[in-house]
């Protein structure tokens, strides 16, 4: 993959070229999977995966040799974070569907005393809440993607966005509170 290619796609996507955006997204997505797969190889199945590492690695690989502006980097991370959100939410949806087919009760009962629903369901609920946040304040929704799905730290986000860490922190607190409220008051599970 040519790094210049990625820069060009990024710029085209920023300029409103939907097709370029789509291609870029696909590439980011593919790259994430490839890296994830390598990290996973030989590892025990439920070992914690460092998605932040994934995103960084994808960035390094895609952007290798290219002089990226901060804007490009911010754009890239936003895309990678969105990709992660999409794949994991899809994955949860698939899992939930499977579960409904085969003894959903047993599986959920297992988790009851821990006080946490199955992560798949939780993630779906989060995604729904995130959609609502997106409508209220898209900027906060992007922040959640970066922090939660791409695993970036407050400082990293601050640097990308060119704001202070305090601002990021405050925004994060609001976004987090909004999501938790929405998730707890949601009448129906998605």
């Amino acid at each position: 993959m040519q790094p210049d290619d990625i820069s060009a796609l990024l710029r085209a996507a920023e300029g409103g070229d939907d097709a370029a955006g789509e291609r870029l997204f696909e590439r980011v997505y593919d790259e994430l999977r490839r890296i994830a797969r390598r990290q996973l190889r030989g590892a025990p199945r439920y070992e914690t995966l460092d998605t932040t590492g994934l995103v960084h690695e994808a960035y390094l690989k895609l952007g290798r040799g290219a002089a990226w502006s901060t804007r490009d980097r911010a754009h890239f991370y936003a895309l990678a974070a969105q990709a992660m959100r999409q794949v994991l939410v899809d994955q949860s949806r698939r899992r939930t569907r499977r579960k409904r087919g085969l003894g959903a009760v047993a599986l959920t009962l297992d988790r009851v005393d821990v006080g946490v629903a199955a992560p798949g369901d939780e993630l779906l609920a989060l995604d729904q809440a995130l959609l609502r946040l997106e409508r209220a304040d898209p900027d906060l929704a992007r922040l959640v993607e970066l922090r939660f799905f791409a695993g970036l730290s407050v400082e990293e986000v601050a640097e990308l966005r060119g704001v202070t860490g305090r601002t990021v922190k405050n925004h994060w607190r609001l976004a987090r509170a909004f999501l938790l409220r929405e998730m707890s008051t949601a009448a129906d599970p998605p």
Binding site: R45, T48, P119, D137, G151
Partner: protein, 861 residues
């Protein structure tokens, strides 16, 4: 969320920001203050701050920590690029060989060492979830594993990888795609054919086990280092093509299809058979021999592709060979010595073979890959090939065949020849105009004008002293010269290409005409709308001959609009109008056509004078239209006047006049002026014999019209003599042509009139067999002859059999021509006759009454 709501959230956000870093007391004070003016806002922010203070197992860590198994799960299930060392089934991937639209190809080895060879493993892009698909997959795989032929790469294994993606394990082939091999090795035409023979044999062996490839293309036809053919991916397309949606969001349509090599039926979604592979083999053969693909197909939407395929016409290899550019020669890799001789080398057999393999209708192609191989071998051995040469006039003939005898027959000849003639003159005018416009190129333009006129003269059979084949050869030479001589002058070249297209149209070489016209259209570009418009009109005239009246009308009307907008010369516009008149004529809108042609004629008289050949020809066209409208007096006057003028310019023995005589003869015969009609029939026959020879198709047509004349006047012996001679001429050209059927039918009529119903029956049956091959059973000719057959059967006393056939005839004619048509009326009359013979008087009367009712309706129209 409405604007109001997001403004509202802005307030929430601002207040949250403000309060977040305050201590509990300051926060409570501030909230109380806000609550006085906006209680809801204060309550909402208070609620959010309360949540802010509580921990969340979900959001306080990144997702990878919150839901690690989910991430792992996703990676397990989601298809993604494989990596070296990965296991797929019992196989271990070693290195990536390639990546394509369908997925990846890896070199792999058996992980457990049970099989020592390296293999090629194809890992498809998309996952397959349903159990049913897996089951079918495994079932089909067993059939494919049974395909053992040295020319087919064996399918060793296949299954579904852990991530849901299907994979196939194939014998690994070290080689190159057939086209690349031919180029790299600089193979001679014979060696290329030899390779195709081997490929066809391998394909045939699979066909005999009922496995169709469906995606044959050079990259699936490999040549190994030893020069042996190995076909890849046999049957895999089928395996994938039948996957249905499993109800999830994963609708599966993995059917691979390579537009350039796909048969029309694949693109149009019609059934795929072994003939589909024959077509793709034909495309590869075409590419191997010319370095080009037979059809340019658009990349893009399926509907654009389907539309393009619908428009495709027959393939002429020599035309492609003559148009070879540097890039195609490069792709071919023929030594220059051989490349120069290529067009000649591809003439004849090879052209016929490729055309047959690439027939649009699957049933007209070779019946098997074996038959294709056999013909290629016959060609290599210098024996006659089996592929029937599709005569140039076949398609034009089919079109004529759709219309009535008599006037229509003469008319199409008249109108189309006028097209060829005036088209050439027209272009000569343009060439001259171009010369005037540019003094620098004047000499060259003069030269090309001469060239064009000489072309036209040799295309005239009288000048060439007979056989129009010679004229064709000269035309081919001419268009070849045209390409090398005029590349620097696109405008002039386009003019001449249009002229060539017109002449080719006149000769019935419609595919070549289309290619020339398209090339001209390309050269015109968008710059000069008027010039482009004439190129479009040329293509429109070709569409008429192809029987595509809608296409013709669209092109011609568009062209006319552009010409009018550009205020083109009146003659140029008039010629396009005349073409449009032809469309209307075939659409049976003769009144409108007549008005149009009359206006055209007036323009010609005004611009060129009534004596001019072109004016005279348009007058004759006008006569044809008046004739068709039943205005026989006016028609006769027009015919006679145009005949007089043409005789004066061309002399009485010019072949073009043979048509004038025929048109007039048919008219006079109908008017009862039998003697003069006979004289004219004989004169036109004489002219044709002398100028075209005894074996020419047009001589046959004159004989046929004469035979028809004799039959209608009861001169049966003369009719039989003329009819038999015509039959011999047409049969020699093409036994499957519908003219052969017409002759057989005519001879049947002669036998029936003599009372020899047994002979009549067998002649009619022969005619029917021919029509079935040449025109199909949807054509009225077929049913007219079937009706005649029924009377011959009835005359021999087999009334039940006759009745059954007649009911079939009636139903067919009602469907083809309409319930209230002259054809249907005739069907009822036939039936009435048989019923009466059988003594079923009441039924017979009912049938007669029905016939009369239709006659009444038709007369009222």
């Amino acid at each position: 969320m409405s604007r109001h709501e997001s403004d509202r959230f802005g307030e929430v956000r601002a207040l949250f920001d403000e309060l977040a870093e305050l201590g509990p007391t300051a926060r409570a004070d501030r909230l109380a203050e806000i609550a006085r003016s906006d209680a809801a806002l204060a309550a909402e922010v208070e609620g959010l701050l309360a949540i802010d203070a509580s921990p969340s197992p979900l959001l306080d860590v990144p997702v990878a920590v919150a839901a690690p198994d989910l991430v792992a799960d996703w990676l397990e299930a989601a298809p993604g690029p494989a990596i070296s060392g990965q296991r797929v089934g019992p196989w271990s991937l070693t290195s990536l060989l390639g990546r394509g639209g369908m997925g990846e190809v890896w070199e792999a080895v058996r992980a457990d060492g049970q099989y020592r060879h390296t293999v090629a493993l194809k890992l498809l892009k998309r996952g397959v979830d349903s159990v049913e698909i897996r089951r079918r997959f495994i079932r089909e795989r067993q059939i494919l594993a049974g395909l053992t032929h040295p020319g087919i790469a064996r399918l060793l294994d296949g299954g579904i990888a852990g991530d849901g993606r299907p994979y196939f394990v194939l014998e690994k082939v070290d080689g190159r795609p057939i086209t690349e091999h031919a180029r790299a090795a600089g193979l001679a035409v014979e060696d290329r054919i030899q390779l195709m023979v081997a490929a066809c044999e391998a394909v045939d062996s699979a066909h005999r086990q009922l496995v169709v490839h469906r995606d044959l293309k050079p990259s699936n036809i490999m040549v190994t280092e030893n020069g042996e053919i190995k076909l890849l991916d046999f049957g895999i397309a089928k395996l994938l093509g039948e996957g249905e949606d499993d109800g999830e969001a994963t609708a599966i349509d993995l059917r691979p299809l390579t537009p350039a090599y796909a048969a029309p039926e694949q693109i149009l979604g019609e059934p795929v058979t072994t003939a589909t592979d024959v077509y793709s083999l034909g495309v590869v053969l075409h590419e191997l021999l010319t370095g080009t693909l037979p059809h340019r197909r658009p990349i893009g939407s399926a509907s654009a592709l389907a539309a393009a395929v619908e428009r495709e016409t027959g393939v002429r290899l020599t035309a492609a060979a003559r148009r070879l550019d540097a890039a195609a020669l490069e792709r071919l890799g023929l030594p220059p010595r051989l490349a120069r001789r290529l067009p000649r080398r591809l003439t004849g057999d090879l052209e016929t073979i490729v055309a047959r393999a690439l027939e649009r209708q699957p049933e007209r192609r070779y019946t098997s890959a074996r038959a294709l191989a056999d013909d290629l071998v016959r060609h290599l051995e210098g024996r006659p090939v089996r592929a029937r040469r599709q005569s140039r006039w076949y398609r034009a003939g089919r079109f004529v065949g759709r219309h009535r005898l008599g006037v229509a027959l003469a008319a199409v000849a008249v109108l189309s020849l006028v097209g060829g003639l005036y088209g050439a003159l027209w272009q000569a005018d343009r060439a001259a105009a171009a010369a005037r416009a540019s003094a620098a190129s004047q000499r060259r333009a003069e030269h090309t004008k001469q060239f064009l006129i000489s072309l036209f003269e040799v295309a005239d059979p009288l000048q060439s002293g007979g056989a129009s084949i010679t004229a064709r050869d000269l035309l081919e030479q001419g268009s070849r010269r045209l390409e090398s001589e005029l590349v620097t002058e696109p405008e002039l070249r386009a003019d001449l290409l249009e002229a060539v297209a017109r002449i080719e149209t006149g000769l019935g070489a419609l595919d070549e005409a289309e290619r020339s016209a398209r090339l001209a259209l390309e050269l015109r570009g968008e710059a000069a709308p008027a010039a482009r418009a004439t190129a479009e009109a040329t293509l429109g005239a070709i569409r008429i001959q192809q029987g595509d009246l809608d296409g013709a009308q669209e092109l011609l009307e568009g062209s006319l609009a552009a010409l009018e907008a550009a205020r083109a010369e009146p003659l140029v516009t008039a010629r396009v109008r005349s073409d449009l008149g032809q469309v209307l004529f075939w659409r049976k809108q003769s009144a409108a056509a007549e008005a149009l042609e009359r206006a055209v004629y007036e323009v010609f008289v005004r611009e060129l004078g009534a004596e001019h050949i072109e004016s005279a020809l348009h007058l004759r066209n006008l006569g044809v239209l008046l004739d068709d409208l039943g205005r026989l007096d006016e028609a006769e006057t027009a015919y006679r006047e145009s005949q007089r003028l043409l005789e004066r310019s061309l002399g009485p023995d010019h072949p073009n006049l043979a048509l004038s005589y025929l048109s007039l003869a048919v008219l006079l015969d109908r008017r009862g002026q039998t003697d003069e009609a006979e004289t004219l029939y004989r004169r036109s026959l004489e002219i044709r014999r002398r100028s075209l020879g005894d074996h020419h198709v047009q001589t046959g047509q004159a004989l046929q019209l004469l035979a028809h004349f004799f039959v209608s006047h009861g001169r049966l012996d003369e009719a039989e003599t003329a009819g038999r001679e015509a039959l011999a001429i047409f049969t020699a050209v093409d036994p499957d042509h519908f003219e052969v059927g017409k002759c057989l039918n005519g001879l049947g009529v002669v036998a029936a009139k003599r009372g020899d119903h047994a002979t009549a029956e067998s002649l009619y049956r022969e005619a029917l067999a021919n029509y079935e091959r040449s025109l199909g059973r949807r054509h009225p000719f077929y049913w007219w002859t079937a009706g005649s057959l029924s009377t011959a059967i009835a005359a021999q006393g087999r009334l039940d059999e006759a009745e059954t056939l007649q009911r079939e005839v009636l139903a067919a004619l009602e469907e083809i021509s309409g319930v209230e048509s002259a054809d249907a009326q005739w069907g009822h009359e036939l039936l009435a006759e048989t019923l009466r013979r059988a003594g079923r008087t009441a039924e017979a009367d009912a049938a007669s009454a029905r016939a009369e009712a239709i006659a009444g309706v038709l007369a009222a129209d």
